[in-house]
């Protein structure tokens, strides 16, 4: 029944039964742990959470900092891949939490007949229908369930012709709002606003083909020989073309600004990471 300490032989009936019992036992054990954990005093709970947080972080931090031996790994490296799988599973349950919260809210709307509960019915029906087809489609792709015309047609209508179109349309209306906001709210009342607007305008036109067309119409060269002197008239005129100015702003002026922001965010992120790792941040864990 046992291939090794960590693996049950599931090719036998006894092995399958053993696995089912182990899984059920795991659920019962975690359920049974709850009264024990609940018995912990508040201080004890905080210590438990802080310890778990610390060890979860210590594993990856130590794995990074410990020197590498042969084969570019240290003694913790083999643990990274199983840890990855565990975090993927927990991460998926965390994503499911959002879905659960959404469904819970709308179910409550329907049951309690709150205002506009009809829309919640629409949401729940859409959710159930799409979930059914999505799970079926994903299992069918792995040949775990049969694929038929109902699945293909249903998934096509729901995904390709409804969800994709709604998603694209929802995000495309932002363009209208940006345009309206740019007209109503973008006012040059200070030097900073002026610099921002001027730069944005140069970028918006310069990086597009229209910028090159305008520069060409103004008589500026669209290219310069490789061996041309950097301060020759031809080079200077080429440098004054809109595409060149726009690219220069992006590559030479924008890059150091973004780097400064990166440094600030990085140092702040590092400080926050240490605080979270050591559970110094209140209200999180």
């Amino acid at each position: 029944m046992w291939r090794s300490v960590w693996q049950v032989d599931t090719s036998t009936t006894a092995g399958i039964i053993a696995m089912v019992l182990i899984v059920l036992g795991a659920f019962l054990l975690m359920l049974g742990l709850i009264p024990l954990l609940q018995a912990l005093p508040p201080r004890g709970r905080r210590v438990l959470i802080a310890l778990i947080t610390f060890f979860a972080g210590a594993f990856f931090a130590a794995e990074f900092f410990l020197p590498l031996t042969k084969d570019n790994e240290n003694w913790l490296t083999p643990g990274v891949q199983p840890a990855q799988n565990v975090l993927q599973i927990i991460g998926s349950l965390a994503l499911g939490l959002g879905t659960y919260g959404l469904i819970r809210l709308h179910l409550r709307n329907v049951v309690q007949r709150r205002a506009q509960w009809g829309y919640s019915v629409v949401l729940l029906i859409s959710f159930l229908t799409m979930a059914f087809f999505s799970i079926w489609n994903t299992l069918a792709a792995k040949n775990l369930l049969p694929k038929n015309s109902v699945l293909v047609r249903g998934f096509e209508i729901l995904f390709d012709y409804t969800l994709v179109q709604l998603d694209a349309a929802m995000f495309s209306i932002i363009a209208f709002y940006i345009y309206s906001a740019a007209y109503r709210a973008f006012r040059v009342r200070s030097i900073e606003a002026g610099i921002l607007m001027f730069t944005a305008m140069i970028i918006m036109i310069g990086i597009m083909p229209l910028g090159a067309a305008i520069s060409s119409w103004m008589g500026l060269p669209s290219e310069v020989p490789k061996d041309a002197h950097p301060f020759s008239l031809e080079s200077i005129l080429y440098a004054l073309s809109l595409p060149e100015i726009a690219n220069w702003i992006l590559i030479k002026l924008n890059a150091p600004v973004q780097r400064a922001i990166e440094f600030g965010v990085g140092i702040g992120g590092l400080a926050m990471a240490i605080r979270l790792w050591l559970s110094l941040e209140r209200g999180i864990t």
């Binding site: 960590w6 979860a56 990856f60 829309y119 047609r153 709604l166 209306i173 440094f263 590092l270």
Partner: protein, 223 residues
């Protein structure tokens, strides 16, 4: 007449396009004013999006990383999902703290991984900034325009960093440098704004292209 026959939803393919168009106009109706048509499709969109995610989550993740190892007999994995389900206690007032155990694992792991991210992400950029040649020598083949650009890079970087240093009050020369830093920051923000406008407009153009090309079957200029 041919165009009309091709335009109307007389086949599965055309019906699908019409469904997409109705969805698009339903969402765009909010631009005129709030209406039940928009609300209906908005709620349908949220339901579809939430429902769709279950397929990849359950099959690509849970089935691949949990069910399959269990079917192969690796019994230790059986504890992972029950442990992860502690997250759902977040909705309970009495047992809510149990969810923080699982959140602690996720946050601890992210924090522990951040050291590598800082080292691999920020340090090479610091190295790159410090390694920029600021004058021509006989050893480097740097041209004068690159030297000028590198000086501009360093001045911009230091000015913006000065602006972001809030640990002490900006006075005198530091204040002037910080002011220049704020102006240079506006250049970066202007670049971001220009790119943002381009991105959002592209999304709208994509939608209108769908309406003109796929639905109305109009030939698009140059396309």
């Amino acid at each position: 007449m041919d165009w009309l026959q091709e335009f109307l939803p007389l086949s599965w393919e055309r019906l699908n396009i019409w469904i997409g168009v109705i969805c698009t106009f339903a969402i765009y109706s909010i631009l005129y004013r709030e209406n039940p048509f928009y609300r209906f499709f908005e709620h349908m969109y949220i339901g579809l999006a939430a429902g769709y995610s279950l397929g990849p989550l359950l099959v690509d993740i849970l089935y691949r990383y949990w069910v399959e190892p269990l079917t192969q007999g690796f019994w230790a994995w059986s504890f992972v999902v029950p442990f992860g389900l502690y997250l759902y206690f977040i909705y309970s007032e009495r047992y809510g703290w149990l969810s923080r155990i699982v959140i602690g694992v996720l946050i601890g792991a992210s924090a522990g991984l951040f050291f590598q991210e800082f080292a691999s992400r920020q340090l090479p950029q610091l190295n790159s900034a410090l390694a920029k040649p600021l004058w021509q020598t006989s050893n480097n083949d740097v041209v004068i325009s690159d030297v000028l650009n590198n000086w501009i890079f360093i001045v911009f970087l230091l000015s913006v960093l000065t602006y972001f240093t809030f640990s002490f009050e900006h006075r005198g020369v530091v204040r002037r440098v910080a002011t220049f830093g704020r102006w240079f920051l506006m250049i970066g923000l202007g670049a971001m704004f220009g790119n943002t406008v381009m991105a959002r407009t592209a999304l709208l153009i994509g939608r209108i292209y769908y309406l003109l090309h796929d639905w109305l079957r109009i030939s698009i200029g140059g396309g």
